[in-house]
């Protein structure tokens, strides 16, 4: 299953507690966990360096087969191992706090013997600071503790063998017999003493965690097609919500490669303004109102630091610095460099303003009001768009070559100015400059329709005057730049399917982007195609494409950023918020198209 110590990306499932996320492979190994928060350095980083990244393994000692599922309507993972001697079930969760006396963060692994007898081995090998520090090992009152700087982890084991410490970490072996239950709890601390949990409390917190997820999901309001897939997507998105601030990050990992062995490895543990409208609409559509409100207000507060300009991304705590650096890890299957931070933070991307104003419009359209300060700020952003839309930028795909007049960026500038006019009409933002916004919006549209459409290609092209195509222009009907059945966008859909299609999948674009190598098909674009087809009235085609895409989810319903069309291998960071947002949006659009 593993290649050079690396599991396929599709072999992972994610568990989380609203503060951090652990990735667990099919073979029971926790290969990724950052502590204490999603954007902190990793303690388990075998995902990016199988040799020295650190892990928490738990698996039978004899050959086995495993199957997994999330417990229904939860983010709690259940893995069943079957061997010649019997079967055993492992339930994994990052336990949710109870406002009581629990560890700072707590990873709970419950092991239950189902049949016969299975010998299991576990090994805790933390490597603090992205693999840099194995920590100092000690035994405190019989409990193994490993610490480095202000971080520490302790392992409590019940009926799971006697912990033995060696130079690599702590390990144990035990026999799980039918009807027997064992428990492993990883208690962690940051800048405070460790809390060693008792067994009863840890078991109860695991049960409470399952109950919380069931309750949270029961309050969601989706009743359309592909309900299981949509609910799994929303649960995946909930894992990406950083509860202390309300920010929603793009993915919980860094540097999973867009091409194996290549340099397209980025840190996605930030919140992108680009995802704002999608996020807000998806969460509100599905009844996750609290998360939608938190994210909306977090975004407005975070962007205050750079007002009226928007930054491409913000840190989870709202900070606006994310300097990019490389760290000395081997990289997933030798894909280097491994990056921390994201250089895109300093890029100019004009589409952001459209994304934010569309999000504000969605918020208002759902019956919410803006306060006067926020309204004034939104109006100032619209004023800024009037002055900057003529400039070239690096576009939604954050290319690393020279700025260009990207079509999708210009379309989103139109969206920004048009939504500003609509918000002013509703009295939500000051309307003193409406005439200017409308005039500039018309000028942007004129630019797009005359400079960014190719009569020869019969399609909107990637950038003004070019002849390459770009799947991001499929967002035009989705972000309401134009109607779904607009002749030009329908022609563009056909052209994109011809030139960027890889089976039912789409590549993002053709042409230069300032980086070496190719990449896989982009899953969010593939779902945007489904939605664009649905909005164009080609519902049958859209359903077929949707079914094909959904069949390529991994065994627990999660998607990465990209896929290799011929092999189905996942590429890029995982699980990817934008892919799941696009899935939810496509399902909702198809539901509406079918109802119409």
């Amino acid at each position: 299953m593993r290649t050079d110590g690396y599991a396929p990306i599709a072999d992972y499932a994610a568990v989380g507690d609203g503060r951090t996320v652990a990735l667990i492979a099919k073979d029971g190994c926790v290969d990724w966990l950052c502590l204490p928060d999603l954007d902190s350095p990793s303690v388990f980083g075998a995902l990016l360096d199988a040799e020295r990244g650190g892990r928490f393994a738990l698996a039978p000692t004899e050959p086995f087969e495993s199957e997994r599922r999330y417990l229904p309507n939860t983010n709690v993972l259940e893995t069943t191992f079957r061997t010649a001697g019997g079967a055993v079930r492992v339930t994994d969760a990052l336990a949710l706090p109870t406002m009581g006396f629990e560890p700072f963060r707590e990873l709970t692994r419950r092991i239950e013997g189902l049949a016969g007898s299975v010998r299991l081995a576990w090994a805790l090998e933390p490597r603090f600071g992205y693999g840099a520090d194995p920590g100092r090992r000690a035994c405190e009152n019989g409990i193994p503790v490993i610490q480095a700087g202000a971080d520490a982890v302790a392992l409590r084991a019940w009926e799971a063998g006697a912990p033995e410490m060696d130079s690599a970490g702590v390990r144990g072996v035990f026999q799980a017999k039918e009807g027997q239950r064992a428990l492993l709890v990883l208690a962690t601390a940051n800048q405070e003493p460790l809390v060693f949990p008792g067994r009863d409390e840890a078991e109860r917190r695991l049960d409470d965690t399952i109950a919380f997820w069931e309750s949270w999901t029961s309050e969601l309001a989706y009743d359309g097609p592909w309900k299981d897939e949509v609910l799994r997507s929303v649960l995946a998105l909930k894992l990406l919500v950083f509860s202390p601030s309300g920010a929603i990050l793009a993915a919980p990992t860094t540097s999973l490669p867009e091409v194996l062995g290549g340099e397209r490895n980025w840190d996605y543990r930030f919140s992108w303004v680009r995802d704002a409208a999608f996020t807000l609409e998806a969460l509100m559509d599905l009844g996750a109102d609290k998360e939608a409100h938190s994210f909306f207000w977090w975004l407005l507060q975070a962007s205050q630091l750079t007002h009226p300009r928007l930054q491409v991304l913000y840190r989870l705590n709202g900070g606006n610095r994310a300097p990019e650096r490389t760290i000395p890890l081997a990289g997933y299957r030798a894909s280097t460099p491994v990056r921390v931070g994201n250089g895109a933070v300093e890029q100019r991307q004009l589409d952001l303003y459209g994304d934010l104003l569309q999000a504000v419009w969605i918020y208002v359209r759902r019956g919410h009001d803006l306060d006067s300060d926020t309204g004034k700020r939104i109006a100032e952003m619209a004023d800024l768009v009037c002055t900057i839309w003529k400039e070239p930028d690096l576009g939604i795909w954050e290319v690393r070559n020279d700025p260009l007049h990207f079509t999708q960026s210009k379309m989103m500038c139109f969206v920004a100015l048009d939504r500003a006019c609509l918000l002013a009409e509703k009295g939500q933002i000051p309307g003193d400059h409406v005439a200017r916004w409308r005039a500039e919006a018309d000028a942007v549209r004129e630019f797009v329709e005359t400079r960014c459409y190719s009569d020869e290609k019969r399609a909107y092209v990637r950038f003004a005057g070019g002849d390459e195509l770009d799947a991001s222009v499929l967002l035009a009907p989705i972000m309401e730049y134009c109607r779904g059945d607009d002749e030009r966008i329908v022609e563009t859909i056909d052209a994109i399917r011809r030139e960027l299609g890889g089976g039912r999948f789409l590549y993002r674009y053709t042409g230069e982007d300032g980086l070496e190598g190719d990449e896989g098909a982009f899953l969010a674009c593939s779902f945007w195609l489904v939605e664009a087809l649905a909005r164009a009235g080609q519902v049958g085609e859209a359903v077929k494409a949707m079914e094909t895409l959904l069949a390529r989810a991994n065994d627990v319903g999660l998607f990465a950023e990209e896929i290799q069309p011929d092999t189905g291998e996942f590429l890029g960071n995982f699980p990817q918020g934008l892919t799941h947002l696009a899935l939810v949006s496509a399902a909702a659009a198809l539901s509406q198209s079918r109802a119409a």
Binding site: N141, I143, P193, V195
Partner: protein, 159 residues
């Protein structure tokens, strides 16, 4: 004057708490005295920290009054003598007070006789509080010397 000791105790505790917090932010120690004190009274983490800060300041004033009594008894005071008291206080705190006595009275802290029972246990500090990081004794004792010097200085000023 006793008021000098009280004001010195407040200012000294402020500096001591800030120094320990800075050590934590610099990632050289996991010591968190308000958390240790507060969790003796409540399981709720948030309430524990708030209560812990109050308790720490109360203890800070209490120790300053003890310093004052000793200053009066020996007929001498000053920042340097306070600093010496702080050094002794820091050594005593980390080797006996927090290491030996706190685990005995703290209802949620492990001690050498603790079995792996069902109650969650707070990590014990160990000798010189080394369990909370190798640099913990240095940070703690330096902070206590600063505390003592401030108390001694204020008592001297008020005399």
């Amino acid at each position: 004057m006793i008021w000098g000791a009280i004001v010195g105790g407040i200012c000294g505790t402020l500096v001591l708490t800030t120094a320990l917090r800075a050590g934590s932010e610099l990632r050289v120690t996991r010591i968190d005295i308000p958390f240790l004190l507060g969790t003796a009274l409540t399981e709720n983490r948030v309430r524990a920290k708030a209560l812990g800060y109050v308790l720490h300041f109360v203890f800070g004033i209490g120790f300053a009054l003890a310093y004052y009594v000793i200053f009066r008894a020996i007929g001498e005071d000053g920042w340097w003598l306070g600093g010496v008291f702080g050094l002794v206080h820091g050594l005593f705190s980390s080797s006996v007070l927090v290491n030996v006595l706190l685990p005995v009275v703290h209802p949620r802290m492990a001690n050498p006789r603790s079995a792996a029972g069902s109650n969650p246990l707070l990590e014990a500090p160990g000798f010189l509080m080394l369990n909370y990081g190798r640099s913990t004794p240095v940070v703690t004792i330096a902070a206590h010397i600063a505390y003592g010097a401030i108390v001694g200085g204020f008592v001297s000023l008020a005399s």
